[in-house]
């Protein structure tokens, strides 16, 4: 997301949108996923519902990256396989909201 991009003209990818957010990423992940349980999961709602697109599909497999996490808790609620062990980051780390 650069300042020249016009927000009202072309679609802006969520990865670019997330670049405006301020993070202080914790070294150790605050969320961990038991990927074994994703194998039998048909719906994989995390992929479309995580607002930060932390979950991605690659060759049918779920990939997870915690660094852009907005700490909303959605994945914890929607995961049908109970595959996510979820917590907040420690020590003031993670998303740093300013204008919301």
């Amino acid at each position: 997301m650069t300042q020249k991009d016009d927000l009202t003209k072309k679609p802006v990818n969520v990865d670019d949108i997330l670049k405006v957010d301020l993070y202080d990423v914790e070294e150790t992940p605050h969320i961990s996923v038991n990927f074994d349980r994703c194998i039998g999961c048909e719906t994989k709602p995390c992929i479309d519902l995580c607002p930060a697109k932390c979950y991605d599909l690659l060759g049918g497999k779920v990939l997870f990256s915690y660094s852009g996490c907005l700490e909303c808790g959605t994945c914890r609620i929607v995961c049908p396989q109970n595959a996510i062990s979820w917590n907040y980051p420690r020590s003031g780390k993670g998303i740093q909201y300013r204008f919301t």
Binding site: M1, Q3, D6, L7, T8, P11, V12, V14, I17, L18, V20, D21, D24, T43, P45, I47, D48, L49, C50, P51, A52, K53, L70, E71, C72, G73, T74, R76, I77, V78, W86, N87, Y88, P89, R90, S91, G92, G94, I95, Q96, Y97, R98, F99, T100
Partner: protein, 437 residues
């Protein structure tokens, strides 16, 4: 060689408090401020780097309950704009219909929640509360079914009562009371973009003179998924966002959820309002949708009071979300209950259960019960698809005159054809809802 530092000497003055408040959001800060003002030794803990950095919402706060707690609110709170313009729009592929109300005196304002929360925290600190940020509480410490303190990492700190103000993801409460993870049906997901726009443009584009607008949009803006879209004008930015019932969103986003917000931002009839704006922040959070489902069976236990979103004291009628003021007021009521309990030296579950009754008897309980009637809207999917289409199609026929204008009757008949066989039920429903509102 000495290792005296590996465990700090937790002196009695630093590991025992009258009350510990977990969470410095609107609920926790209000409770801490109220308690500190009365002279109690209060510890408020938040996981954010500073208070406010973890708090997100839509954009408008109702001021009266807050003023009852923070008397100086109108003088020094970080208010962006006092809301004097309310707009409700029905959006569909057929068009967009808006109802707008502009009143005189304003009882709500727009602001950034991180700013407001940090202001509340400062008030609590000035009043004497000890505020420890950057600390995530890991566990409520329970002994013989009584909460006796909190644990964070290797440290435990004790109090007569813990006030749980941890917000919607109530991990601590789930742990202490062995509760289940909340159900999708009881939650909604909100996402929002804050777009920088200088104050002058905000004024021009929304027809304002430094006052604020709160705008709710229903219909195609959520791709007819139950929920709504919102626009709030801040001092020099606009907040645009969506709230979607989680149980519906799970099935119907049809692609990544952020695309819905993107489509809203790019909506041909709306995008000029934030043209040339600069994206400041993207945020997301869960919100209790159906309070009856989300609220725990009780709001207190021995040594424990639950306030704010964690307690499900939040009004969400599908259009307006009132969380901040209700959370704050519940924090205030918890502080009042604690005061009474402290006077009696009794922190049992019986004593503290007075808090739940206070909530029920206050405006919070009255409001929640009243809006239970609107559950009807929640459960009625037409509200979010057929109504907006019906309104727009009907009005389209009335206003788009060719040679001869149709009668209202004809217009409605036409609209019914556009929308489908359920349209009549929808018209009847709308009449009913109009009466409820």
């Amino acid at each position: 060689m000495s290792t005296e530092h590996s465990t700090p000497n937790a002196s009695p003055s630093t590991n025992r408090f009258d009350a510990i408040v977990v969470g410095a959001g609107p609920a926790g800060s209000s409770a801490s401020f109220t308690l500190a003002r009365k002279g109690f030794k209060v510890l408020m803990i938040d996981r954010g780097r500073r208070a406010g950095t973890k708090n997100m919402y839509g954009g408008r706060v109702y001021s009266e309950p807050l003023e009852a707690i923070f008397p100086s609110l109108r003088k020094d709170a970080p208010v962006h704009r006092w809301v004097k313009a309310e707009r409700l729009s029905f959006v569909s592929d057929e068009g967009l219909t808006s109802i707008e109300y502009r009143g005189g005196e304003s009882k709500s304002f727009t602001t950034y929640l991180p700013e407001l929360v940090n202001w509340m925290r400062a008030k609590a600190e000035e009043a004497g509360a000890l505020v420890a940020t950057e600390v995530r509480v890991d566990r409520l410490v329970v002994e013989k079914e009584k909460v006796i303190g909190v644990q964070a990492g290797p440290d435990t700190v004790y109090a007569d009562t813990v006030i749980d103000a941890e917000g919607v993801n109530r991990l601590l409460l789930e742990g202490a009371w062995q509760m289940n993870v909340p159900r999708q049906e009881d939650l909604a997901i909100g996402l929002k973009e804050t777009i920088k726009l200088d104050a002058e443009r905000v004024n021009q584009r929304f027809g304002l003179e430094d006052e604020g607008m709160a705008w709710i949009l229903l219909g195609s803006v959520t791709r007819y998924i139950p929920g709504g879209a919102f626009v709030y004008t801040n001092r020099d930015s606009v907040s645009i966002g969506l709230v979607l019932f989680l149980s519906h969103a799970v099935k119907r986003t049809n692609g990544h959820i952020s695309r819905l917000l993107e489509d809203f931002r790019l909506h041909p009839k709306l995008k000029h309002l934030w043209r040339d704006g600069e994206l400041l922040e993207y945020s997301a959070k869960l919100v209790p949708e159906y309070w009856r489902g989300f609220m725990p069976r009780r709001l207190s236990g021995a040594g424990l009071l639950v306030v704010g979103d964690a307690a499900g004291v939040l009004l969400n009628n599908g259009m307006t979300i009132r969380g901040v003021d209700l959370a704050a007021y519940s924090g205030y009521l918890a502080a009042e209950t604690f005061t009474k309990a402290h006077a009696e030296g009794d922190f049992t579950s019986e004593m503290l259960s007075a808090y739940g009754r206070r909530v029920e008897e206050s405006f919070i309980g009255r409001e929640l019960r009243k809006h239970n009637g609107l559950e009807y809207i929640r459960r009625n999917p037409h509200f979010f698809d057929q109504y907006p289409r019906l309104v727009n199609s009907g009005l389209g026929r009335i206003f788009n005159i060719g040679l001869e204008s149709p009668t209202i009757w004809k217009a409605l008949r036409g609209a019914q054809k556009d929308v489908g066989p359920d349209a009549w039920t929808a018209i009847k429903d709308m009449y009913k809802i109009g009466r409820t509102l």
